[in-house]
Assembly symmetry: D2
Homo-oligomer: 92 residues x 4
Amino acid sequence: MTHTIREKKKLLARVRRIRGQVEAIERALGSEAGCDQVMHLIAGARGAMAGLMAEVVEEHVRTHLVDTKKYPDALDADATEQLLEVVRTYLK
Amino acid sequence: MTHTIREKKKLLARVRRIRGQVEAIERALGSEAGCDQVMHLIAGARGAMAGLMAEVVEEHVRTHLVDTKKYPDALDADATEQLLEVVRTYLK
Amino acid sequence: MTHTIREKKKLLARVRRIRGQVEAIERALGSEAGCDQVMHLIAGARGAMAGLMAEVVEEHVRTHLVDTKKYPDALDADATEQLLEVVRTYLK
Amino acid sequence: MTHTIREKKKLLARVRRIRGQVEAIERALGSEAGCDQVMHLIAGARGAMAGLMAEVVEEHVRTHLVDTKKYPDALDADATEQLLEVVRTYLK
């Protein structure tokens, strides 16, 4: 990912949080935690993973679909927003 | 949808097939069909709906993200394909 | 579905609403509606379909997993609720 | 999770594999890997997480829905299989 430092930091923070959630699943499986608790932890990690994917897809759309140096005005803002809305709905 | 006649026909055929599937669910619920059969029919209709969405999203990306009359070469083919691959994975 | 009349009516009402939503997609595709509107309609129909599936799965779990005439107390209420919570999360 | 040692080992192996996949995402984000590669890694980790959830749900259904010591024959095998099939379809 060659993008802005700020965006990169945000994504890294997200993925580290997910790593923490996966480690919590591992601990819960290793201990006497109930299925119930394990299912909750997995559902949480899966939601966080979906959020990360939505973020990376958005980054990809805004940065790579069009070479913005060559065509700074080519990407239609409304159509992009409509696309990302669908992506977010399905990645929830 | 203002796109090509051919694309429109394809999408209409898809949505009509989905209507048929929904009507089959309705009949199954009205008859003595088992939950098992009803769940199968719903899973099928849901898969078909996801396929329709993937198709419309692809159409949207290829036709609306960039005004291709004004910028015929602006949309990056590889980046577009990578995006659509993710969309298809999540819409399965 | 051999279940209660009341439950059956509720499910039939749901599936008829979905049929209406699919017909709206068909009309939108046939008219000059934009991709944007079509994507919205599909997302709505898909959500409704997921809700229907969650309802039928719940019915299936409560009615068929255990022969409640023979074993009226065998199905664990808490464990059932935990399962259905996961099902609802994934069917959103 | 109080289940069999063997089942527990299998689940732990799965979650450790997912941890490895999340660490690979972290490394990819930290390096100059493209969005494309990051999206692929996330899609893989998400699929693995869905597989883990399906496994835990199956365990939950088979072990907790019915107190099998008290009611060894109460859980209907066919209805259980039908439920798990739906769960697997939606967790893919």
